[in-house]
């Protein structure tokens, strides 16, 4: 065991001889259109394209890794990767633990998706949401019964099989699902929560944060960010 570890460490040393800075980008890979795994098994989506362009503008080499949503912040602060781009909205609670760049999407309207024609009681019914999201804390504070799931897919499943009356999630995530499935429809009004989606970084990584902030600003200025937002149907442009 010890030898294996040493061998791995040596391999890592040999491979790292050329000291170019590689930034490891952490994502969930289960939240289209923000990020998902494509047919070839690679990370794809809005954040993949955006992240690659940001790295190019900041002059960094980037590598994508996927991680479970539940442990995505602990693994960032312990240094297993350097950034989080996973459709993560900027909130005060998260800001206490990690740092965010400026937002690269507008505060995204969240929407309720339910079975077509169903009457949903938003203040007293059963609403599904993914664990640890801004939508989950919104449901918890609204008085409705919160039903939490580890993955976005399961929240939709809960509505399909009647376990939950509706699911609250980013509208951009629900849109293609509602378009595909005639049984599911949006209900009620959209709710605005969070401060837009930003890239999460360690609080001690101020230098990297400034690089990405500058790159995001340059993409906002020349309109290429808006083009990406429109292409992936994320929501409102800047």
């Amino acid at each position: 065991m010890k030898h294996l570890l040493i061998a791995t460490a040596l391999a890592a040393l040999a491979a790292g001889a050329a000291q170019a800075q590689t930034v490891r980008m952490g994502t969930e890979g289960a939240y289209p259109p923000y990020n998902y795994i494509d047919d070839a098994g690679q990370v794809a989506g809005f954040e993949r394209e955006l992240g690659d362009e940001l790295c190019k503008r900041a002059g960094l080499t980037c590598e994508w890794v996927t991680n479970d949503w539940d442990s995505i912040i602990p693994n960032l602060v312990s240094g297993n990767y350097d950034t989080i781009m996973a459709g993560m909205s900027i909130t005060d609670e998260r800001d206490e633990v990690i740092d965010f760049t400026q937002n690269y999407t507008q505060p995204d309207p969240s929407a309720y998706l339910a079975k077509a024609g169903a009457e949903v009681d938003f203040a007293g019914g059963v609403i599904a949401a993914q664990t640890g999201t801004i939508q989950a804390s919104h449901v918890a504070s609204s008085g409705a019964t919160l039903l939490e799931f580890a993955t976005p897919e399961e929240t939709i499943g809960a509505v399909r099989n009647g376990e939950a009356d509706a699911v609250l999630a980013d509208r951009a995530y629900l849109e293609p699902i509602a378009a595909e499935d005639a049984e599911l429809d949006f209900v009620g009004e959209d709710v605005l929560i969070g401060g837009g989606v930003g890239m999460g970084l360690r609080e001690s990584d101020a230098e990297l944060k400034e690089k990405f902030n500058a790159a995001i600003q340059s993409m906002k200025d020349d309109g290429s960010l808006n083009a990406l937002i429109t292409k992936w149907e994320i929501g409102a442009t800047f």
Binding site: I37, D68, S78
Partner: protein, 294 residues
């Protein structure tokens, strides 16, 4: 994969299926079966070594060594696996990086703990930040093997400890009467005879270990359950060439078959090993074998 796969919308039936099952994503699923098998093949013997060490230490006549063995068995068995995986692996990784940091960057002046952050110099990162992805994956895999081995080693230690106590006292007494030293009777009499008592307990552990592999994804190692969930989930046409409904039932069904076949094969092999070990032993099973042969 196949030339006719270039336009998946134009094909259907078995042709479609043959393309669908050979996408890059499915290849990852097939490879993850290999990951799980390799993990089991390495973990089982390593855990057995940990277990043997733990059991030998626990019954040592040298008190501190005995406390060490008993402490290892007691503490690790009492902590839930999932807590062990979330806490211990991150701590282990940070311990390695801390040691490397102390050796490689002696003139580093910033604190290592900054609020929630764990910051070491770039040269101390394990693996290095710019190492290729496969190095990171291999490193994560070996952390997983080590963690699994420590956990299952503690359970195995308890099984082996019990098995060592179960060997009839008369056997050891006879050995002593022949003038064997303590070490000699341990090596020649106790260890060869204890396996028959240990095997039922060890086979339980093996079965549990086979089914514990989904914990791997907590470490970022993508195992078969992760890929089954990912591939089986609803796919809308916008994000894939192969849209389908919620097919998780089929994928998990396939996993069920895999696990059942695997545990069945294990049972057959373990039964055969048990027959071998029973041969010539002073147990009821050994006696039955002797009578059947006579």
């Amino acid at each position: 994969m196949f030339p006719y796969c270039s336009d998946p919308n134009a094909i259907s039936g078995l042709t479609w299926l043959s393309c669908y099952l050979t996408t890059g994503k499915h290849t990852s699923l097939y490879l993850s079966f290999l990951t799980v098998l390799v993990l089991l093949a390495i973990t089982a013997p390593v855990a057995l070594v940990f277990g043997f060490g733990g059991a030998t230490a626990a019954r040592s006549r040298f008190a501190p060594l005995s406390w060490l063995g008993k402490g290892y068995i007691g503490i690790v068995r009492g902590v839930p696996d999932i807590a062990f995986f979330l806490f211990f692996v991150i701590a282990l990784d940070q311990a390695f990086e801390y040691l490397r940091h102390k050796i490689k960057c002696p003139d580093w002046d910033q604190p290592i703990r900054q609020g929630n952050d764990f910051v070491v110099c770039a040269a101390a990162k394990l693996p290095l930040g710019d190492a290729p992805q496969w190095v990171h994956e291999t490193y994560g895999f070996f952390l997983a093997v080590l963690t699994f081995s420590i956990i299952f080693g503690a359970f195995a230690a308890n099984v082996l400890y019990g098995a060592m106590q179960a060997v009839p006292r008369a056997q050891i007494e006879t050995a002593e009467a022949y003038g064997m030293s303590h070490g000699q009777s341990f090596r020649r009499i106790l260890v060869p005879q204890m396996w028959v008592y240990a095997l039922p307990g060890l086979s339980n552990l093996w079965m549990v270990l086979i089914k514990a592999t989904p914990l791997l994804f907590l470490l970022g190692v993508e195992d078969i359950v992760y890929w089954a969930r990912e591939l089986g989930g609803t796919k809308t046409p916008k994000f894939t060439d192969y849209p389908h409904e919620d097919w998780r039932m089929w994928y998990f069904g396939a996993l069920l078959v895999f696990y059942l076949v695997f545990t069945r094969v294990s049972e057959v092999v373990l039964a055969r090993v048990m027959r071998r070990l029973t041969h010539g032993q002073a147990t009821m099973g050994g006696e039955a074998q002797r009578k059947a042969a006579a």
